[in-house]
């Protein structure tokens, strides 16, 4: 533990050690653990313990009522080779993540660019665009979604009136997932606010220099905005991807917990819930949770690896 105030604050930067007064330091130790005791109890009993337990349970057959019986890797084998709904849920979730995350971030960036100017009302607009991020996770909004995208709902009627007679989206397997994508994209406000904060950090001189060199708006966006914003893009991308893999409420409400029609809204967390808390196959659900964790961890690691190639930190080359 050295004086590491030079490192950026969000990484684990220990504060400088107190001046060489060992006595005070030792006395502080006990008090520190006292302050930390709720967290330590929580971490041990509600995080580490349960993680170990769920890893163990994933190798068992467990219905919550009788003691778990060890069955080795059978849950995993069944999952990968004998469970069509598992693969279906995995594929549905993949589609959901691949469409909703870029759409959401794209909208967030577009609106952030639109709002990034010093004008009257910007603060108010920013707040208003952020509002759906607070409301969107609720059952209420999911319910409104279900009604708006049902047969004869608002969306159906509007589309019919312009000759697109698609019927209710939530009732048809080929469109139902799109309602969830729309619900996710609707909540672009949170990443937008983060993009806006990032855009404010881009030095004006860079744009001026680019303009003098004859760069048009598109060129300036590609050569100044995007590279300068890339750390923020990385942050939003990781956060939103992890978030998207765990989407649950919308899928549950739109399909009354069934994931239908024809399993088209059966997102992975919903299937995990069904296996665990409807079929009481707790061992299987635990195995599914660990597969989810592995996939999310690997994806995050891959994104960070790729980041070396596309994320530009302004401080680096100075």
């Amino acid at each position: 533990m050295t004086q590491s105030v030079l490192s950026r604050p969000e990484v684990d930067a220990p504060p400088p050690p107190p001046t060489a007064r060992g006595g005070r330091r030792r006395r502080g130790q006990g008090v520190a653990y006292l302050f930390l005791s709720p967290w330590i109890v929580g971490a041990a009993l509600l995080t580490i313990g349960p993680m170990v337990a769920s890893l163990y349970l994933s190798f068992t057959d467990y219905d919550l009522f009788e003691a778990p019986t060890w069955i080795g890797v059978e849950n995993y084998v069944t999952m990968f080779t004998g469970d069509e709904r598992f693969w279906h849920a995995a594929w549905t979730t993949t589609k959901y993540v691949l469409i909703s995350v870029p759409l959401k971030l794209g909208l967030a960036l577009a609106v952030a660019m639109l709002l990034n100017r010093a004008r009257k009302g910007v603060g108010l607009y920013r707040s208003a665009f952020y509002a759906p991020s607070l409301l969107g996770a609720s059952v209420s909004v999911a319910l409104a979604w279900r009604a708006m995208f049902s047969t004869d709902g608002t969306v159906d009627r509007v589309l019919s009136s312009i000759g697109l007679d698609l019927g209710g989206w939530v009732d048809q397997p080929q469109y139902a997932l799109l309602t969830l994508v729309a619900l996710a994209a609707w909540q672009f406000g949170a990443p937008m606010v983060i993009f806006l904060a990032g855009l404010k950090q881009v030095p004006r001189e860079l744009y001026e220099a680019a303009a003098i060199d004859g760069a048009g708006p598109a060129r300036r966006f590609l050569s100044v905005t995007l590279p300068m914003l890339s750390p923020v893009i990385l942050f939003n991308l990781v956060l939103e991807t992890i978030h998207a893999f765990q989407a649950f409420t919308g899928a549950f409400v739109v399909s009354s917990g069934r994931g239908g029609p024809s399993d088209s809204t059966l997102l992975y967390p919903l299937y995990l819930y069904q296996r665990g808390f409807t079929d009481f196959r707790m061992g299987y659900a635990s195995a599914m949770a660990w597969v989810l964790l592995a996939v999310v961890a690997i994806l995050t690691a891959l994104v960070f690896r790729s980041a070396r190639r596309w994320v530009f930190y302004a401080g680096e080359d100075r």
Partner: protein, 287 residues
């Protein structure tokens, strides 16, 4: 129009007008579902399914009267109080436990701090599904399923690591001289926490409180798992129960209840919008 902040160049007025029109237009499309939800909740049953008109032709409070009368066995207020009890409990828990932990991580020295802090950071990213089932078993063994404890107790154990992180960041930005001055005046670590850190930490505490309230209020997954007796149901659960029973004619009351469920969030938003948005901007809360 350029994409840059152009305050210095003072573009001419028509451009500004166009900009405001575009922004407001996009906003209206975006907020349409909410406006529609609120307006539909004031429509009489016949109008709910028959018209596309945004505003009710014949506004009525009957949908609201009906949900106050009863959804299932209880009136909407019953569910409202349940949601409120859980949310307030969660807020108290998070503010207390997270600030204690954050002070230790941000200011005190103890063995194992690095690894513990690292572990805490990892838990921010951890999908709750990996701990879900054993946690459920624990609460079941303690006979706490179908009570509010599984939803509140973890908050008193600083399990929302994100807020610990938020406060650690904040505490690290506070000048250390203040601590040292207090120490010279005879304060121990507890005194420094109470008299120096805690008062200065207020903005972070408020951000934590607001977000904890809204997330707990909106939470569906944990409540769905831990509460199964309608008497213990919260607003989201009662709403879900409602949907499954509802025929088309019950849409009006259902929307009235949805609006009531969104109301506290709306009020919080209006009261604290700056806090909320700045909280996201500076710390990356996902919202």
């Amino acid at each position: 129009m350029s994409t840059v902040s152009t305050a210095a160049r003072r573009p001419i007025a028509p451009g500004r007008v166009v900009w405001h029109v575009v922004v407001i237009g996009v906003l209206l499309v975006l907020l349409y579902p909410v406006i529609w939800l609120v307006s539909t909740s004031f429509k009489p049953a016949t109008e709910v399914i028959s018209t596309l008109a945004l505003l009710p032709r014949d506004p009525t409070g009957e949908n609201y009267a009906e949900v106050f009368d009863g959804v299932g066995e209880f009136g909407v207020l019953h569910y409202f109080w349940n949601s409120l009890a859980i949310s307030v409990g969660a807020v108290i828990g998070n503010v207390l436990s997270c600030s204690l932990a954050a002070y230790a991580f941000g200011r005190l020295h103890f063995r194992g701090r690095g690894p513990m802090f690292g572990f805490m950071m990892i838990t921010i990213m951890l999908p709750q599904h990996v701990v879900l089932i054993p946690q459920y078993v624990i609460f079941q063994q303690m006979d706490m399923v179908n009570t509010f404890w599984p939803l509140v107790l973890p908050k008193f154990l600083a399990t929302d690591a994100f807020f610990v992180f938020l406060m650690v960041q904040f505490i690290r930005s506070l000048p250390r001289e203040l601590d040292e001055a207090a120490t010279l005046d005879g304060c121990g670590p507890v005194g420094v926490f109470r008299h120096v850190i805690l008062p200065l930490l207020r903005p972070a505490l408020i951000t934590t409180a607001i977000f904890t309230f809204i997330w707990t209020w909106n939470d569906f997954f944990s409540q769905l798992i831990y509460l199964n007796d309608p008497e213990k149901f919260t607003l989201p659960l009662a709403l879900q129960l409602f949907i499954d029973q509802a025929t088309q004619s019950a849409f009006g009351p259902m929307f009235a209840m949805s609006v009531l469920a969104l109301l506290p969030i709306g009020l919080f938003f209006l009261a604290f919008q700056r806090f909320l948005v700045d909280g996201v901007a500076t710390s990356g809360i996902k919202g």
